[in-house]
Subunit: 246 residues, 2 copies
DNA sequence: AAGTGGTCTAGACCACAAC
DNA sequence: TTGTGGTCTAGACCACTTT
């Protein structure tokens, strides 16, 4: 019984068995798997072991479980393929697709920038920054939490523009007359969900998060927005095409 | 005892306690946390509950555990910041950094393309494709598994070039005289590690994977390589800068 | 009422590190 | 030898769904 970082022989065997079971029996989306009790008895092991295998298979997007109903073969995910364009905002790209798409403003606070934000936004550490929390959904399913940080000095009386919130870019252009913000850099990370992610995105704790950090500029202001998107890794893929220029 | 997707009140409370404990006691990298037994007794609960909290904190990169030693505050990760350039190959970008960097060829096989690869590489489904598996490491720590798929027709006698493997681009340019391959698109995904990821990257099963899928072209051949990088999410961040052109 | 998955408790054994 | 984290077993209760 060699132990290899959380995946030992027993569990690997059961994992392979289930994958093979799905294949051999030609199971497809929504088809039911044997229950945890059944598998535990079959492999002369405990239900907890089966559960840990199910958890990992669920994290890999192969199965999903429903309380009281059972475990099922997951759908061949048709995830959102977010095609980045550094001349466009998040909501503009999302709206250019065919899916319906909703933004909900969760909170708005004002904080002082601190060392990190002051560096990214080229302001003083003590400068005030507006912080917005927005949840984005398609087809009624929340898929991303977006945080925006905007220097107070560029967006005076910001609160007045928050009724009927649609997008930050919309406020910057319509409310303040700035030119279209442009993305100057993206950093992309895979991380585990925080309790807030789990809460707002309604995901189990195994689903990884695809995080994008971006800085936006306008000609008039220089850096105007630091933008963090935390999206469900299983529902949201980031794509980028390169055309003519090397 | 409301149950909210795997994170209930009890565990949330313990999670917050530990985060606060680190802060209040000014613990930093490598400092020891109370043992699982201690915390279990303290919260009048079972060690398994503490373990599940530790697992999640570890996945978030806040703590790490060592068998026989204890749980410790994790380092402020200095992850590899991979700065993408669509005119450069993976190993070229990696080598332009200051870290030492090693590629190890794990396997080479020939397969038929199938529907997906044939579409990406613009070949027939039955065409042969060379498949390479390479593990990349820095400072002795493997951080990424890379898979390359190259159409046989563009790289005849490919095996002959695999001794002293350094990089695919190197083979294409030095071995076949092609111009420098150019990346035409990237798709980035966050996913759970597969058993192979866990095996080759020596990671626990909670660490998310940052996956990059890329297509490379040369002027002479058109699409020449389909390239998949599966990197540790906690050690590898993807960055991209946009300069002059909108 | 019976079965399912989600959670928890209590206790065991192991490999490993420290004393 | 003792304490640690990693794994496993056995059994319990819950919320939920189906019969």
């Amino acid at each position: 019984m060699t132990d290899d970082n959380n995946v030992n022989e027993t569990r690997l065997k059961i994992m392979k068995y289930i994958k093979l079971y799905i294949k051999k029996n030609h199971l497809s989306e929504g088809d039911r798997l044997p229950s945890q009790n059944t598998l535990a008895a079959q492999f002369h092991t405990d239900r907890n072991v089966i559960r840990s295998v199910f958890t990992q298979l669920a994290a890999q997007g192969i199965i999903y479980t429903e309380k009281g109903r059972g475990a099922f073969v997951a759908s061949k995910n048709r995830p959102i393929l977010f095609e980045h364009d550094n001349g466009m905002g998040f909501s503009e790209i999302m709206n250019s697709g065919t899916r319906d798409y909703v933004s909900n403003l969760i909170s708005h606070t004002t904080i002082s920038a601190g060392s990190y934000l002051s560096r990214m936004l080229e302001i003083e550490e003590t400068d005030l920054v507006h912080s917005l929390l927005v949840v984005r959904s398609t087809d009624g399913i929340p898929f991303a939490i977006c945080q925006s940080f905007l220097p107070e000095k560029h967006v005076p009386d910001f609160e007045k523009h928050l009724e009927n919130f649609f997008s930050v870019n919309h406020i910057l252009m319509e409310g303040y007359g700035y030119s279209h913000p442009v993305c100057s850099q993206v950093t992309i990370t895979a991380c585990a969900p925080t309790p807030d992610d789990i809460k707002y995105l309604h995901i189990p704790s195994q689903v990884p998060i695809l995080k994008q950090n971006e800085v936006f500029y306008t000609d008039e202001t220089g850096p105007i927005e630091y933008f963090i998107v935390r999206a469900r890794g299983d529902k949201f893929h980031f794509k980028m095409k390169f055309s003519e220029n090397t």
